[in-house]
Symmetry: C2
Subunit: 144 residues, 2 copies
């Protein structure tokens, strides 16, 4: 089940990475292989779990999520924090981490004021430290 992916698979993955809606016919030309063959390779990449999904990306500035921040949190109410973050739309990432703080939360709010509101809402769970992103130089990049 640890299937070896070859160069053509890799090429297909690179083509799809930033253009998930690219038609198979077009990929077929680029990798010089018939459409059914490309289709089958894509299906196998999905079945084997290399490809986990196709996402549409939105401009978060336009969706009132232009301010990115990271909150380091130290809490003993783990389940409560997880539950809270899961239902909070501002939270995009939640990691259990090593070190003094035990959770790292990534938050996208409309403004720093909203970040303050969010911080207030979790203040009861323990001490936190927030890091505001002044500039997103790279975000969610995957180099294949």
């Amino acid at each position: 089940m640890q299937s070896p992916i070859d160069d053509i698979d890799r090429k297909i993955m690179k083509l799809l990475q930033h253009q998930a809606r690219m038609p198979i016919s077009q990929i077929s030309q680029m990798v010089a292989m018939s459409q059914p063959a490309v289709k089958e390779r894509i299906m196998k990449l999905e079945e084997k779990g290399f490809i986990t999904g196709y996402r549409t990306e939105f401009n978060l500035q336009r969706l009132e999520r232009g301010t990115t921040s990271f909150i380091l949190m130290k809490t003993e109410q783990c389940q409560a924090l997880v539950d809270f973050c899961e239902q909070a739309p501002e939270v995009t990432d939640l990691h259990r981490i090593s070190g003094e703080f035990n959770y790292l939360i990534k938050v996208k709010t409309a403004s720093v004021e909203e970040l303050a509101d969010f911080q207030d809402s979790i203040a009861g769970m323990g001490p936190s430290k927030s890091l505001i992103s002044l500039k997103n130089l790279l975000e969610n990049r995957v180099v294949l």
Copy 2:
């Protein structure tokens, strides 16, 4: 240019969000609107910048990127750090941040050993602190 998106646009965006390859014909049925109308709405969402792209997601475990870590960095060699991170495939995110540390780097490596290697490679630029993700509870989530 600050075009108002309506409920149907929002519905289309939600449908596409996690299934970017969904055919327009199918979306058309779900929102009870003709295919040309749906197509036009999607094009406008793209033109107006609400939709910024279509991405394929990969299983990072299978691509030797199963270990997620965050590195807080304090450096004065800003441009050097940015240049280095841009060409380092392990780096998925790079943020200029407020606070004592001035950069936050998100890194995906095959193992913690590789994280150590990465840390060594930037050690010359200034003091750093690394936070290893023990569990990815949420990652790159966008709630529309």
